[in-house]
């Protein structure tokens, strides 16, 4: 076990951790909006709308993230017509391709989490709002959404960790996240064991922090 190599590669891997965190936060940020929109669409009475939302979530949860990234990065990149549109400015950069793929993916899972949270809100809470004469719209924004968010914290915490693991796939499209940098170091030093264990350790540490953060938030916001 080459300990010296672990020490020298640690700084490079840690600065790559910043890239991983940037990917994670951007994906989650967009993902939450996408998830919220599709969760609402799913609850809509119109069958076309809720089937469409169901289709979206089914497709993005039923196919591997790797396939999704490859379609967005390599697939779209090969269409000459697409390259001539203004969208190409965004899709040209692997960073944005990755974030779009991740956001769509986590959006699908998030929409499921929020949808089930919406559907399991105790009806008594909504009735209380109605009996107080609060309009439906305000009930939705001020009561349903916050309650749903609180109820989904445990499941969403899990989703954050799953997404963080998903960011490692950014390395397949040239992005230098922790996995990408680890592979790069291994390709020049040929010591896969030491490097991958160190990289794994960093991910584990981040998982630990996120896990405890979510637990703290759950405690703080629980109204039990």
């Amino acid at each position: 076990m080459d300990l010296e190599l672990i020490f020298t590669s640690l700084p490079k891997l840690l600065s790559a951790a910043v890239v991983t965190l940037k990917l994670l936060s951007s994906s989650l940020f967009f993902g939450i909006f996408i998830g919220l929109i599709f969760a609402i669409l799913r609850l809509n009475k119109n069958p076309f709308i809720n089937k469409f939302a169901y289709g979206y979530s089914y497709v993005f949860r039923g196919t591997p993230l790797l396939v999704q990234i490859f379609i967005i990065y390599y697939g779209l990149g090969q269409i000459e017509y697409f390259r001539s549109t203004f969208l190409w400015v965004i899709f040209k950069e692997p960073y944005w391709c990755a974030i779009i793929a991740f956001a769509l993916n986590t959006g699908a899972y998030t929409s499921e989490i929020l949808r089930s949270a919406f559907q399991t809100i105790k009806p008594g809470i909504i009735e209380a709002g109605k009996s107080l004469g609060i309009s439906n719209k305000i009930i939705f924004y001020k009561i349903q959404i916050p309650v749903a968010i609180r109820q989904s914290l445990p499941a969403y915490g899990n989703e954050i960790i799953l997404m963080m693991k998903g960011t490692s796939l950014a390395s397949t499209v040239t992005l230098m996240d922790i996995t990408g940098v680890a592979k790069h170091i291994v390709s020049t030093t040929y010591k896969p064991l030491e490097i991958f264990i160190t990289a794994g350790g960093i991910y584990l540490f981040m998982t630990f922090i996120i896990h405890n953060l979510i637990k703290y938030l759950e405690k703080k916001y629980s109204f039990q």
Partner: protein, 230 residues
Amino acid sequence: MDLLTFGKTGWGDELFYATLMTIAVSITALLIGFLFSIIFTPLKLSNNKFLNFIANSYTTVIRGVPELLVIYLFFFGGSGAIMYVASIFGYFEYIEINAFITGSLAIGIISGAYSTEVFRGAIQSIDKGQFEACKVLGFKRYIYFLKVIMPQMLRLAIPNLSNVWQITLKDTSLISVTGLVEIMRQSYIAAGSTRDPLFFYSFAAVLYLMLTFLSMKLINRLEVKYSRGV
């Protein structure tokens, strides 16, 4: 569409076999995962702090580290293990573990961590009364576990196990590093050869969706079967 024909010029037959391979690896990995669960779930539930620690480390590490990294570690770290084993057996030459076993084992280790959690949760949510009743009736451990606890545990576990199956199925897309030709790798080869990545990766997505759809149907049947009499 004629890219998909079976036979020499079309990729249809290669993709068909790749799909079979994906199914085969997923099932094998799931079963290997179950084997791991059989070992680690009791460890997790035991009173021995040390055994607890080992089992918890297994599930925490595997579920906290990206699958890609676990697969790389297993694949590359395997060289160290194999060389060590080979040196012990001095004359035991050229141990070649084929790509299918390596790939299934790698995914199986990952799948096992998730299954362990599922089984643990399922056993813990069985009414304690069941265990007490068996003890009172004087049943031997193995017997009551097999005849009383297992059926109840399976019923509780099946919904979550369907999740584990989904995860396992999708994780097979990551083992192209072992050179195994499953859906993702075959699409990659086809896309490279025909320079049409959009078509083949989209088709790969369709294949995975088909597998997901079929799995869901089968698992629903299982759920119904195990919920009889509840």
